[in-house]
């Protein structure tokens, strides 16, 4: 190598980011700044969108080797945690440790509100198919309506990894926008009288039931939809840490530093997948439009079912708690509370809305399970075993190994 002044200077100049800066990079850097702005000044899910936006910034600095496809780069390593479906379940472990399913247990029929809100997933799926996405992609887009970040990331990485970035951005952005999206729909679909309905106080739940609940959910739901076990099982384990009363240490770690560490890695990894080639496409706009549709329809689904429950219980259920079935914990429940209190300041719906709210998490996990049952490869392909084992391998290398194996087989 030469180290004359001229050669060195030219080396430095050609290795600056400017030398290969393209308009795509600049646009994506602006996008990343918008995400960081929304996270900090608009408080849009800052725990996710701040590191996600920053990861996008890093990934779009040319030659920084920080994009998710840059094998050997730092964020590529973190991205393995998404590819191999490790990080979202660990997030759910923490979410379970943070979640109190008490209100749901006190009123288990609110699980149906969590189910009804999934209609947003399927209307969006149909819409996505109409917009030209294939079935796998449409499923991954539909799940945005589940309003659960980790579930969306889990399904997207499984069924349509090339759409991970826009799906994650849409999911977390609309979750933050729930206080803007939902109230008009809620007011449109309810009468003043319905909104003023006061609900009876929730009955207390035995600690034993709270402990048995996560075990029962795991057995019932995972047996029916095994594909969702990593997500739902970890969610329930986290909750068992919380409720069992004998694993305070593990509970504390799961709900604080473990989920924080995993959040940093996950958000950076998602951000690193926001490259110009994966994000600056017509599909992204479609996904963002479909995501909004998903949230609206999910809200409508929950509200309509809330009204049905209101009728069937003879007016003992305030339909406003239906919208909380979209999950987006705990924002959607707070929106129910607020809209209820707007109609009658003495109306306290928060705890009642927490039931459908956490039911929505289970509901979208179940919806995810259905997709995995239908489209997931539960049985791994026979010959991909080697390639799987060395997961970080890049396409070129995979081809080389395949070639080796093939050559041998021909020689035999």
């Amino acid at each position: 190598m030469e180290f004359s002044f001229g050669a060195s200077a030219s080396k430095i100049l050609t290795t600056t980011g400017f030398s290969s800066l393209e308009s795509g990079h600049i646009i994506m850097i602006l996008v990343s700044c918008v995400l960081v702005y929304l996270a900090i000044w608009k408080k849009f899910e800052p725990l996710l969108l701040l590191p996600m936006g920053f990861g996008c910034l890093l990934a779009n600095i040319p030659m920084s080797m920080m994009a998710y496809t840059d094998s050997g780069g730092l964020l590529n390593f973190f991205y393995q945690g998404i590819t191999h479906e490790i990080l979202p379940p660990l997030i759910f472990l923490g979410v379970g440790a943070l979640t109190d399913f008490g209100p749901l247990l006190a009123n288990p029929t609110t699980l149906l509100l969590g189910a009804a809100a999934q209609v947003g997933v399927y209307v969006t799926l149909i819409g996505a198919v109409l917009l030209g996405f294939n079935m796998h992609e449409a499923s991954a887009i539909g799940i945005i309506g589940g309003a659960d970040g980790p579930t969306s990331i889990f399904i997207a990485s499984k069924l349509a990894p090339h759409l991970l970035a826009p799906i994650a951005v849409a999911a977390y952005s609309y979750m933050s926008l729930v206080p803007l999206i939902q109230p008009p729909i809620m007011k449109l679909l309810t009468t003043e009288k319905e909104r003023k309905i006061k609900m009876a106080q929730l009955k207390p739940i035995s600690q034993t039931v709270k402990i048995l609940f996560p075990v029962v959910v795991t057995i019932v739901c995972c047996l029916m939809l095994p594909g969702v076990t990593p997500l739902l099982g970890m969610l329930m384990l986290g909750n068992l840490f919380r409720e069992s009363g004998v694993t305070a240490r593990l509970h504390e770690t799961a709900e604080t530093h473990l989920i924080n560490i995993v959040t940093i890695l996950l958000a950076l990894a998602v951000g690193s997948s926001m490259t110009a080639s994966s994000f600056l496409r017509l599909e992204t706009l479609k996904i963002i439009a479909l995501g909004l549709l998903a949230f609206c329809i999910a809200t409508i689904g929950g509200m309509v079912f809330g009204k049905i429950m209101c009728k069937m219980t003879g007016g003992r259920v305030n339909p406003l708690i239906g919208s909380a079935g979209v999950s987006a914990v705990p924002m959607a429940a707070r929106v129910s509370q607020k809209v209820g209190a707007d109609a009658d300041p003495s109306n306290f719906l928060l705890m009642h809305a927490m039931g459908p709210n956490v039911a929505g998490v289970i509901g979208s996990a179940v919806a995810a399970g259905v997709f995995i049952s239908l489209f997931g490869d539960t049985v791994p392909e026979p010959h991909a075993a080697i390639a799987d084992a060395i997961g970080t391998i890049e396409p070129g290398a995979k081809a080389a190994i395949a070639q080796v194996v093939e050559a041998i087989q021909q020689n035999h």
Partner: protein, 89 residues
């Protein structure tokens, strides 16, 4: 387009059916559980204020924990300071 649209509708109806089935099974299971194991109010704890000795005991324990915590933070021996003034409710 037509076929894929129909496929999407099929999948959607089926999936909603599965979701309602699974969650309904879950509802009945929970209702069964709650009926089997009803909530029992905990026995009223003996009023602590009166039993001065036990309160003193407890206070000692609390003080010990706080002392240890502070000692850790200060990197000093717990023998070097003393906690006062944790009043029991």
């Amino acid at each position: 387009m037509e076929t894929s649209f129909l496929a999407a509708v099929n999948v959607s109806i089926l999936a909603m059916a599965v979701i309602f089935t699974v969650l309904t099974v879950l509802i009945f299971t929970i209702q069964g559980l709650v009926k089997l194991i009803p909530y029992q109010a905990p026995p009223p704890a003996p009023s602590r204020r009166q039993t001065a000795s036990s309160a003193g005991d407890d206070q000692d324990n609390h003080a010990a924990v706080i002392t240890a915590v502070l000692a850790m933070h200060m990197g000093k021996s717990p023998n070097e300071f003393r906690i006062v003034n944790i009043s029991q409710r």
